[in-house]
Amino acid sequence: MKLKIEFSGGLELLFGNQKEYAVDVPCSEQQLTVGKLLPWTRDQLLKDRPELFMKGDSVRPGILVLINDCDWELSGTLDAELQEGDKVLFISTLHGG
């Protein structure tokens, strides 16, 4: 399934300092949940310090997941179903000022 994966708020530093990826994620019968996308993203795209991206089956505290610019809480978090062409954005919350 073709997706856009984006990183922001410093999270891109874990992913080779690249903010946008166009990816094609293997999936069966066009069914793909965010829960399955997370380990794929970690294994395929992450370059550095994997412990800063995932914790257990989900993302680390402090990371927001957005599906087409909407908080994944609005579509079922790990169970959210992705569609061809969706954009998944991972944002690290910032504390600086």
């Binding site: 922001s8 708020g9 410093g10 903010k19 310090r49 800063l52 680390r60 505290p61 402090g62 990371i63 927001l64 957005l66 610019d69 909407c70 908080d71 809480e73 609005l74 954005l89 944002i91 690290s92 919350t93 910032l94 504390h95 600086g96 000022g97």
Partner: protein, 289 residues
Amino acid sequence: AHQALHGLSKAQVERYSRQLLLPSFGIAAQGRVCSSSVLIVGCGGLGSPAALYLAAAGVRKLGLVDHDVVELSNMHRQVSHSEQRLGMHKAASTAAAVAALNSSVAVDTHLQGLTPSNAVGIISQYDVVIDASDNAPTRYLINDACVACGVPLVSAAAVGTDGQLTVYNAGGNGPCYRCLFPECPAAANCSRCADAGVLGPVPGVMGVLQAVEAIKLVGGVGQPLAGKLLLYDALAGRFSSIKLRGKAPGCAACGEGGMTREGVAAFDYAAFTGGQTANDGPPVPLAVL
């Protein structure tokens, strides 16, 4: 007689004339701004421009909170300070800048910083709070105290070349900071300016945007930037806006039986954030340069 009508003096009418001319703002909103109070927690990269623009816009009272002193490594982004005030307490330095710009603004400085024991007492005196702090424990503390006191919170952050901004607690079903981040990120997941660096004008952009949102709230104009998170990517020259979740029913701050005023004073923010301190750490060694 004129003064009684709109509550503004002749000097105020002249000073704020360009805002009085604005059909969408006008005398009513300016009058509300001139009787409002705003607290700024943090007189650094975000708080500096927020303080200057809120003072210029004519709020009645500005509260300034910080516990640090002005250092040379602050000067590339914290434009309310000056070389002459290096070593001065940051809140006092920003107060001096405010006084030079608009002497009619009352300034209260809180030089000890925000703590669990003083937060509710300070925050309950203000109409709007601006989170311009630089660390996780203070961000949770400000959130909880604003929830407990029912005060709207304009929150922003900036690290590297990225900025983030949202408004909490401004009515509607928007989340609070704890709804979004019920569990504190580990220190290694918290990007701070002292560790990761920051391009000077990036917090500047976000801090002025905080002043805009605070003026909208106290002036009663426009749509507050609530329920959404505004992202600024300075290198790409791009802003985007994302839609946030609603309030979490079980939120430890804004949920049923959530945070009370007494609860804020009793909460152990240091333990919750895994021992992160409210102090900006020492500068990373630059010997490599």
